[in-house]
Amino acid sequence: MTQPSALSWRRLVALCRKESYEIIRDPSSIIIAFVLPVILLVIFGYGVNLDSSAIRIGLLVEDGGVEAARFAATLAATPNLDTRRSTSRPEVEHWLVTGEVRGFVILPPDFSARLARPGTTAPVQLVTDGAEPNTASFVAAYVDGAWAAWSQQRLADRGVDARPAIETIPRYWFNSAAISRHFIVPGSIAVIMTIIGALLTSLVVAREWERGTMEALLSTPVTRSEFLLSKIIPYYALGMAAMLLCLTVSVLLLGVPFRGSLLLLLVFATLFLGSSLGLGLLLSTIMRNQFNAAQAALNAAFLPATMLSGFIYEIAGMPLPIRIATYLVPARYFVEALQTLFQAGFVGAVLLRDFLCLAASAVFFLGITALRTRKRLD
């Protein structure tokens, strides 16, 4: 049976049925396709929240003056900061080392005095927790905002025109409230599809080898393409069902707007599933060992999909060699397409590039798998 003869529908249907039974009989496949996506979407949607709502900071006022009290009041009124008053330096420093606060502000004893004296400037000391770099820069930005509000108010009280010389007015496109969930959830769909596509299929061919059922299959008239299609079709159906479930949960439960076309979403999902099913089957075919194939899939599919796809971490900020490597990660194009379809709707130039790259990677992985599948024992 080495030369692939024409497809036999009867054999293909029979094999697909056998594979589908295997999926249905093992509750873990159903759980991973229908329960895990919901759990993961909810966890990514709520757990990965980059919009700091209230960062705890400490405040130590060493100056008894009116100006210091006013500054403290402005800081306490800042919505993004949860300010805790401290009475001593050791206390506030202890809060920082244990992580109870992410930064602290000190108004030194001569704060009001220096403000009153012309020609001197009064420093506001801010210490942030550098062990949390992202939070530290947000703390600095919020304290800066409070400081600006305080100094404007101070000028206004003296009858000086308090408007800033240059005012910058931001407008947020696509995601007007700048909610991080709106870009994290579409990206995480790509991660979930990677799990279903590559991890599940990395086990299927290796399982046949490990259990010895591959030898039985070899002795039947099943052709190479029938064998591969029977591994692809049921998992493709499972993946698409999971995709639609993800879409429903994202829009209805998590409230992420979907502005693009459903048809395009299905096209992109199909192409992406093609490449990740291909990758999973390829690893399974090469390794012939479930334990190793699953670990390899974790590293070849899941890890790049989370780290290199731009789903959380900005690709433009990566060093050049890694930036080049991201072009080889199919999830990168799928994440970009998903973010565009969900938030922008339709941007032809972006979607066309993603379409071509995803199509190429699907053909590549499925093609290599077909080449590596041999109906021989060795």
Partner: protein
């Protein structure tokens, strides 16, 4: 009995290190992640492209544009000449941030009237776009302050910022201690959860059961190799963090291993619990996954736990990874001693006690 236990442990370690494929799979991922994580996983904004639409040709606007072009945060500046071109560069993600300087900008500044600049922020990438917007508005504010100072109106107050533990806010210093924790997680989970499932699927588990080893000994025999492998992998990452990436290590090395041991035990308990419920390797693998992805996501390394809804904050408290990350980061950056580690060490011991006894109970029930 001790001799039998040692034999079992040796057999497990040999199984993991015997053939080249398995050996590669223990070492390669560690190296791969060591290369990827610190370089790729960063919320810093570098190499961002800024699109500027300068509708005003005056001296003040030209000077401001030059200042923006000179900063390191925006190595690429695209000058566009119409609002539609500005819109297109954001749409296509060519630029992360767009600035529009209106026609009357220089005139208003020259006559001491307040002037306006419009910023267009790509909300699809709201975190990085907001940080980039922060950079741009700092430059604009500095520009305004310098003009005011030159005109004889210096600011009366200023903020002095110090970043403790990580003066330059290097993201790698944050990421590598996290990586030590994640690698230790993968090592101990995969080895414990999958090894029993593999024995079952291959039928060798029955042979173990008819041997004189009791369930407790089988559990120890599966836990010790996992701990050895996980700690070896963790050591590799910690070494590379200090010697390759130059992350300071201020704590005591012994405390790091104490933390790894407690953490490894709590995870081995979860791994054994999963494997005692599973019939096949697929189930065990998916079980590991179902635990690991939420555990990493909710550990607070992707986004701070403070930002999560209260229910997820509770989950964060019982997530062993979140406690371990605090310990490792504290040892690396903050020089934690025993007193500072304890608040996060006892939860690990408590989790280990619960999961280990749960696993033992499941083991007795399902296996023996």
């Amino acid at each position: 009995m001790l001799h039998r236990l040692l034999t079992l442990i040796t057999k497990e370690l040999l199984l993991a290190l015997r053939d080249p494929q398995s050996r590669t799979l223990l070492i390669m991922p560690v190296i791969l992640q060591l290369a990827l994580f610190p370089l790729a996983a960063s919320l810093e904004v570098k190499n961002a492209t800024l699109a500027i639409l300068n509708e005003d040709g005056g001296a003040e606007s030209t000077e401001l544009v030059e200042r923006l072009a000179r900063t390191q945060a925006f190595p690429h500046i695209v000058m566009v000449h119409s609002e539609s071109a500005l819109r297109r560069s954001i749409d296509r993600q060519d630029a992360l941030l767009g600035l529009q300087v209106p026609v009357d900008f220089s005139r208003r500044l020259a006559s001491s009237q307040p002037a306006t600049i419009f910023a267009v922020v790509d909300g699809r990438r709201s975190n990085s776009a907001q940080i980039a917007y922060g950079y741009a508005s700092t430059i604009i504010d500095d520009f305004a302050t310098e003009r005011a100072t030159a005109a004889g109106q210096p600011p009366v107050s200023h903020i002095v910022v110090r970043n403790w533990y990580n003066p330059n806010l290097e993201y790698r210093w944050f990421m590598l201690p996290v990586l030590v924790s994640i690698i230790t997680t993968i090592g101990s989970m995969i080895v414990t959860a999958l090894s029993i499932a593999r024995e079952r699927e291959q039928g060798t588990f029955d042979q173990l059961l008819v041997s004189p080893l009791t369930p407790a000994y089988i559990m120890i025999g599966k836990t010790v190799p996992a701990l050895v492998i996980a700690m070896a992998q963790g050591t590799m990452v910690a070494t590379a963090a200090v010697f390759v990436y130059g992350v300071p290590f201020h704590g005591a090395l012994a405390l790091l291993y104490l933390g790894m041991l407690c953490y490894g035990l709590s995870l081995a308990g979860i791994g054994l619990f999963i494997s005692s419920m599973c019939e096949t390797q697929q189930q065990a693998f998916l079980g590991v996954f179902t635990f690991m992805v939420p555990a990493t996501t909710l550990s607070g390394f992707m986004a701070p736990a403070e930002n999560m809804p209260i229910f997820f904050q509770w989950l964060n408290r019982i997530d062993p990874l979140s406690h371990f990350i605090i310990i490792v980061k504290g040892l690396f950056l903050k020089g934690y001693g025993v007193a500072l580690i304890w608040p996060n060490l006892w939860p690990l011991l408590a989790i280990a006690a619960v999961t280990m006894s749960g696993a033992y109970w499941m083991f007795r029930r399902h296996v023996a």
